[in-house]
């Protein structure tokens, strides 16, 4: 497990970017209600940071081209994005957010 941050650092209604040398890819965290969701921060369409985007319920809108991704499934709702982004299981222990190491390991791009 990789420790990411404390739950208190996550502001409801915003997307928090976590990019660190020990993470193979930048991640984005979203707190909705009591749950915390973790997705890849980089849009599956072109290089945009989803943490710059708009959060509406469980959906994050890419700041460049407006595809919206469901943080629960990673699926985009409309073009230009066609591919899902990765979602990662998080664990909350004593108010700290952890993510599974194998889950965020770098993977070959689909293309």
């Amino acid at each position: 497990m990789i420790q990411l941050c404390s739950v208190e650092e996550l502001t409801p209604g915003t997307v928090t970017r976590i990019a660190r040398p020990d993470l193979p890819a930048p991640l984005a965290l979203v707190k909705v209600g009591d749950r915390v969701f973790c997705i890849d921060d980089t849009c599956s369409h072109e290089t945009a940071s989803l943490s710059d985007g708009w959060l509406d319920g469980h959906e994050v809108e890419c700041p460049l081209h407006e595809s919206r991704f469901d943080v629960r499934t990673g699926r985009p709702d409309c073009p230009p994005a066609r591919r899902s982004i990765r979602t990662h299981a998080v664990r909350l222990v004593d108010g700290i957010v952890y993510v599974e190491e194998s889950s965020v390991a770098a993977e070959e791009p689909a293309r």
Binding site: D52, P63, P79
Partner: protein, 394 residues
């Protein structure tokens, strides 16, 4: 079981087909595309495709799964050449005749060309995948590139050609690129983007001729100068593809005229995307050639067409009245523009600086009419959302 024909399978056509299915059309769906290739997305043509980072498979608009879900008959490499509103028959370029209760016109627009100049091999427009491949081949050899037109296509091609190591010059009729669309402050920023990257602009001139036998050697300009060039790319706008509708009863005027619900003057015929000159609230007529409009307009067209075919009144459905949005990638910068500013609206910096990344708003009589950003997506998104709120209630 009714048949709906979607004429044109660019983004608007594909989205129309998808929207028709999503909204419950379970009859026959025929997708008619002039090009013989599977539907593809156009924005990367002037960027990643020219640079060679994307191939055709990277810009496909459909895949095996989405085509299966669409459950359509595809007539690719086929054009509609006529439509008879009485018998409701489409005539196709292969001689076939197709009966359709509903028709979606999504034939888009084609690149405008220079008139009165000879056709030479190394003179390009950029609209299709074939165009992009031919231009990419020409850019694979060393040579000087002249880009005619400093709009988005011209700017992106200039940027790609520069990245490929070419000496590039832009020829622009106005004193600055996009001056009439964005005003002098923003146009000045765009001009600087070019000059900072070693791409000079020759402004206030038009092209009067092309010199060369098979391939171009130089561009003759209206001020008497001659600009040496081995490759010329012409990016001077687009013309809606409406010729096939002559005599169909579908009213045309620089595009297919539609109302707010994408209905043409012929019942059961709707239009969407670049080809559609729609009437928005307030009666103004707009033909928007932006990608986002082609993505979003077909949903209204499909809803309205299906309502008509069911004998219902589409006016009960939401009208098409989006906040316009367009982006452009030039050199390493990402431009975003929302709204519909006039060139003489005041441009006011919100954050950043015109020399690097910034967000600025256009104002007229105190009210925001548009948002312009360079490399500031987050702040742009916030202001665009605010503008969207006032847009909906204006």
């Amino acid at each position: 079981m009714s048949t709906i024909a979607v004429v044109g399978v660019g983004l608007a056509g594909v989205r129309a087909g998808e929207a028709l299915r999503a909204q419950g059309h379970d009859g026959r769906l025929v997708m008619i595309g002039e090009e013989a290739v599977e539907p593809y997305d156009r924005p990367p043509l002037s960027k990643q495709v020219l640079l060679g980072t994307y191939e055709a498979c990277d810009i496909a608009l459909t895949d095996t799964a989405s085509r299966a879900e669409l459950d359509a008959e595809w007539l690719l490499g086929t054009r509609a050449t006529a439509f008879d509103p009485v018998t409701r028959h489409l005539t196709l370029s292969d001689g076939q005749s197709l009966h359709a209760e509903g028709v979606v016109i999504a034939t888009g627009a084609r690149a405008r060309t220079l008139s009165g100049v000879p056709e030479l091999d190394s003179v390009h427009t950029l609209r299709t995948l074939d165009d992009a491949r031919r231009l990419r081949d020409d850019l694979s050899r060393p040579g000087r590139v002249a880009v005619v037109g400093g709009g988005f296509i011209g700017a992106e091609v200039a940027s790609a050609a520069r990245a490929l190591g070419h000496e590039v010059t832009i020829v622009e009729f106005e004193q600055m690129p996009l001056l009439r669309q964005l005003g002098s402050a923003a146009a000045g920023v765009l001009r600087r983007l070019h000059t900072d990257h070693g791409v000079p602009l020759v402004t206030g001139v038009s092209v009067t001729g092309l010199v060369g036998r098979d391939r171009v050697q130089a561009v003759s300009l209206s001020d008497g100068r001659s600009l040496p060039a081995d490759v010329v790319v012409v990016g001077i706008g687009a013309v809606p593809n409406t010729e096939w509708l002559a005599g169909s009863g579908v009213a045309l005027d620089n595009g297919v005229l539609t109302d707010e619900w994408c209905r043409t003057t012929v019942p059961g015929v709707v239009a969407a995307g670049d080809v559609a000159a729609y009437r928005c609230r307030g009666g103004r007529r707009l033909r928007i050639e932006h990608w986002t409009n082609a993505r979003d307009m077909p949903a209204t067209a499909a809803r309205s067409l299906l309502a008509t075919l069911r004998g219902e009144d589409p006016v009960e459905q939401p009208a098409h009245d989006p906040l316009p949005y367009v982006w452009s990638d030039q050199y390493d910068s990402h431009l975003q523009i929302a709204g519909r500013p006039d060139a003489d609206d005041a441009l006011e910096l919100v954050s950043g600086s015109f020399d690097s990344g910034f967000v600025a708003v256009y104002r007229r009589d105190g009210a925001v009419t548009g948002v312009l950003a360079v490399d500031s997506p987050k702040e742009f998104g916030r202001l665009r959302r605010e503008l969207r709120g006032t847009w909906a209630t204006r």
